[in-house]
């Protein structure tokens, strides 16, 4: 079994969780006897190539081996992402506008044809353009390596167009992997409709859609209208190989309850603060930490001040690398009150560090973690009660820490990717 995989990032240079997940998947697939060609927009050369051959899209010129420019364009024409709105156009005007647009695209394409495009591979301002270019290059790469793979696998909306282009040009089946959806990224009102359209397009064009949790699977079916038979859940795993738990010295005797993540609407920071206020009303000897940054940070700080708990509630700002590890090591309780979380790997990290975790039922991780404490994100009473219990009943803390540690260590990518392999097999039939 051979797979052509489109990703956006790959360790060691990662900004989000997607790269880490891709790395785990590629390694797990290798263990299951699946060969992977991993395409990414901007590779720096120090990626671990032991499990997959990595192709840097920035090194590949848009070039077609067997098809003419027109045919190529004809297949991937949808790729151009225009945001031109044309109000009140009559049919004649509209068709001439479309023709005009097509000619402009062909011209555009002829200019870039045969040239390389330097991707940033980041999530910058010209993300949409990069996504479109990535599809062009992706199509080219698929044609060049046509005989070297059986299945195409695309991770998240950034790579869906590349996946579709590869499918159109080679006729091989496409699997798209939904790590997150637009509905998880923002509140209902401020969804980016362009992203939403790409997601829908990708899921519709795919032969199978892989969702990271049943929660996400539900969103694919109910919000994107995808046929339930086509959507499969493969829960994420986590790779802790080579990880040593670090020892840190504590400055305070108090118990530390931690929130770690982006401080955005989706992560539910205000529920954490409300629960903290409830706990602090009844208990001494406990401190709360909100680690991370985000667009709701100043609001969160104001909320803490308003509730009068600033002396026991601390903000760390954005943490990176080893500081994240250190923060977990300093914590006694970890809380992930996400409003919507496709999976949520952070409680697994916390539990791996021996920190009992309270997670919202609206997270994919809640589907696999038996030994995490689960509450509805809005149920601050239950959240406060769990925090109080973990701070005050040592037997519970010891039990949850030990069982949780064993549990997350047993979640392996080899198991998840074995299911992924079955998905590949199902689209090849």
């Amino acid at each position: 079994m051979r797979v052509l995989m489109f990703g956006w990032e790959f360790p060691p240079h990662i900004a989000g969780g997607l790269g880490t997940a891709c790395y785990g998947i590629v390694k797990g697939l290798a263990a299951n006897g699946v060969d992977t060609i991993f395409v990414m927009p901007s590779a720096s050369g120090d990626e671990d190539q032991s499990a997959a051959r990595i192709i840097n899209a920035s090194d590949v010129a848009v070039d077609t081996v067997s098809t003419s420019v027109d045919e190529f364009l004809d297949r991937v024409k949808f790729v151009h992402i225009g945001s031109n709105m044309i109000p009140y156009a009559n049919p004649e005007e509209f068709s001439s506008l479309v023709e005009e647009e097509r000619l402009r695209q062909v011209k555009d394409f002829r200019i870039s044809y045969g040239q390389k495009y330097k991707f940033s591979g980041k999530y910058g301002a010209n993300l949409m353009e990069e996504v479109a270019r990535y599809a062009m290059v992706g199509g080219t790469i698929a044609l060049q390596h046509k005989d070297e793979f059986d299945v195409i696998h695309a991770h998240d909306w950034l790579t869906y167009y590349a996946g579709i282009a590869a499918k159109e040009l080679t006729g091989k089946p496409l699997v798209v992997h939904v790590h997150a959806t637009s509905y998880d990224r923002g509140s209902e009102e401020n969804i980016d409709t362009r992203v939403l359209a790409i997601e829908k397009r990708g899921m519709e064009a795919a032969d199978k859609v892989v969702a990271v949790s049943d929660l996400t699977r539900g969103i694919c079916i109910n919000r994107y209208g995808i046929d339930p038979d086509k959507v499969v859940t493969v829960h994420n795993a986590v790779d802790f190989s080579g990880r040593e738990n670090i020892q840190v010295e504590r400055g305070v005797k108090d118990k530390v309850v931690t929130f770690l993540g982006r401080i955005t609407f989706q992560k539910g920071p205000e529920y954490f603060i409300e629960a903290a206020a409830k706990v602090l009303k009844r208990t001494k000897g406990v401190r709360f930490v909100m680690a991370g940054s985000g667009d709701m940070m100043s609001r969160a700080i104001r909320q803490v001040a308003r509730m009068g708990i600033s002396d026991r509630f601390h903000f760390t700002g954005f943490l990176r690398g080893a500081d994240v590890q250190k923060m977990f090591a300093l914590s006694d309780v970890y809380v992930m009150p996400s409003v919507s979380e496709p999976f949520g790997i952070s409680p697994l990290e916390a539990m791996r560090t021996g920190v009992p975790s309270i997670i919202s039922k609206q997270s994919g991780a809640a589907e696999v973690l038996r030994y995490a404490f689960k509450v509805d994100f809005w149920d601050v009473d239950a959240m406060a009660d769990d925090i109080y219990a973990l701070v005050n009943y040592p037997a519970l803390t010891a039990f949850a820490a030990r069982e949780g540690y064993d549990e997350v260590n047993a979640l392996k990518w080899t198991g998840a990717t074995a299911r992924l392999k079955q998905v590949y097999e199902s689209v090849l039939k």
């Binding site: 409830k278 706990v279 009844r282 689960k374 406060a384 009660d385 219990a389 005050n392 519970l396 039990f399």
Partner: protein, 429 residues
């Protein structure tokens, strides 16, 4: 001599705790979910206790005293009957009046006191005995411990309380090659006769009756009689069928035909003539002791393991149990009957059962009876209640000390021994 069938039904309803958050600690000392308790009790009364009692009464009358059964009704259940469904008590009285029904003694609160504290155990057994005498006007002479828990040391306690007959599980790991179809005796107290549950035949009715994938389905009185006779043919003198009364109409729904089965069984057994129905006390008198049983570690009728791990298997359960029974000594100083009552209800074995983390083998059975989603919730709720109880207990004792100190000053001239005033209230209780 005819072979014996001994039918005993357990009647118990736990006093379920309400959702008790940590902010309630020290503020609200009503611990029970009266609504759930009433609703559940009313439902089971209508589906099981009332129709089944009517059916049993009918059977006893139809067979002119040849049909005999035994009940053990926990004090917690009696309290709920008196409060929510007094007609159930009346129907049990009607059964008692036939003279064909034996009522067994047990711990009033269906507790694990036999494992924890002899004084508490004795207190509860006597309290239960008094309740049975008060309600039914009969004095129990045979004993069954909570969930048929038994060990050599429990046997000694039971014997010292004056019982000559005790019921327990025919646990395979204790019996080895021996059959539960004989009467045994306690290893150190030969006067105490033991009746052992035939789990295979009991579970045919209690668990497998409505299981359509079971090869004996549907179970009829004739089929069951032939199984009974097969046991008799292999040399068994007695078949002990011990089960929860809620089997009839609750665990096995009316639609499964369980009532028809029970209606047909007495007649089938009596007209066949191989067996006669006996109550536990009669059985112990009728049959000779065949051997003594050595049971160093406690056994019970629960789960595959037939031990006490369903209640005390993990450290959450052990913690809650230890914290609870650590209060016994303090409580003996308090004279508040309300505290004693709460202490009793908190001892109900069910609270510990809800904290069980055996998710797999017997998880289904555990889930069925469990008002909590997770063992964590059960533990946290219980510990919150216990924290409040402790505060009340400490308050009661410090108030008592103040009163005691005051009285001592007045009584000082008489020079009363300091222990005397304390002893008095203990006697009262």
């Amino acid at each position: 001599m005819k072979k014996s069938i001994c039918l005993y039904f357990q009647v118990h309803q736990p006093t379920r705790l309400r959702l008790y958050r940590f902010f309630d600690i020290g503020k609200d000392s009503h611990y029970y979910d009266d609504f759930a308790n009433r609703t559940i009790l009313r439902r089971i009364a209508d589906k099981c206790y009332l129709p089944m009692n009517a059916l049993m009464l009918e059977a006893i009358k139809a067979h002119g005293g040849q049909f005999r059964i035994a009940y053990s009704i926990s004090g917690s259940a009696l309290e709920q009957f008196e409060r929510y469904a007094p007609e159930v008590i009346d129907s049990f009285k009607a059964l008692s009046d036939t003279g064909c029904v034996e009522f067994l003694a047990e711990t009033y609160y269906h507790s694990l006191a036999s494992l924890a504290s002899y004084s508490e155990f004795e207190h509860q057994v006597l309290k239960h005995k008094a309740a049975i005498e008060r309600i039914f006007g009969v004095t129990p002479t045979a004993f069954r411990n909570t969930e048929l828990i038994y060990s050599d040391s429990i046997g000694q306690q039971v014997c010292s309380l004056g019982f000559k007959t005790m019921l327990t599980e025919g646990a395979k790991h204790i019996l080895g090659w021996k059959s539960p179809g004989f009467v045994y005796s306690d290893a150190s107290e030969p006067r105490l006769k033991l009746l052992l549950r035939n789990w295979g035949l009991s579970d045919d009715v209690a668990f497998r009756f409505s299981n359509r994938s079971w090869d004996q389905w549907p179970l009829t009185a004739e089929k069951f009689l032939s199984s009974l006779k097969a046991a008799a043919a292999s040399g068994d003198e007695i078949v002990n069928l011990f089960m929860d009364y809620e089997t009839f109409g609750e665990h096995q729904s009316e639609g499964s035909g369980i009532f028809d089965f029970m209606r047909a069984l007495p007649g089938a057994v009596i007209s066949d003539g191989t067996f006669e129905f006996v109550t536990p006390t009669k059985a112990a008198r009728k049959h000779k002791v065949s051997d003594e049983l050595d049971v160093p570690d406690p056994i019970s009728w629960a789960d595959e393991e037939r031990d006490v791990t369903a209640w005390l298997g993990n450290e959450l359960q052990q913690e809650a149990y230890n914290k609870l029974y650590a209060l016994v000594e303090k409580l003996s100083l308090a004279q508040d009957p309300v505290l004693w009552e709460d202490f009793g209800h908190l001892q109900e074995s069910d609270h510990f059962y809800y904290m069980c983390t055996k998710f797999f083998s017997d998880g289904e059975v555990h889930k069925y009876f469990n008002p909590y989603d997770t063992p964590y919730e059960a533990f946290i709720n219980y510990m919150n209640v216990l924290s409040d109880f402790k505060i009340r207990l400490d308050d009661a004792i410090s108030h008592g000390d103040i009163k005691f100190a005051a009285r001592k000053e007045i009584e000082a001239p008489i020079a009363a021994p300091s222990k005397k005033p304390r002893k008095k209230p203990v006697k009262k209780k």
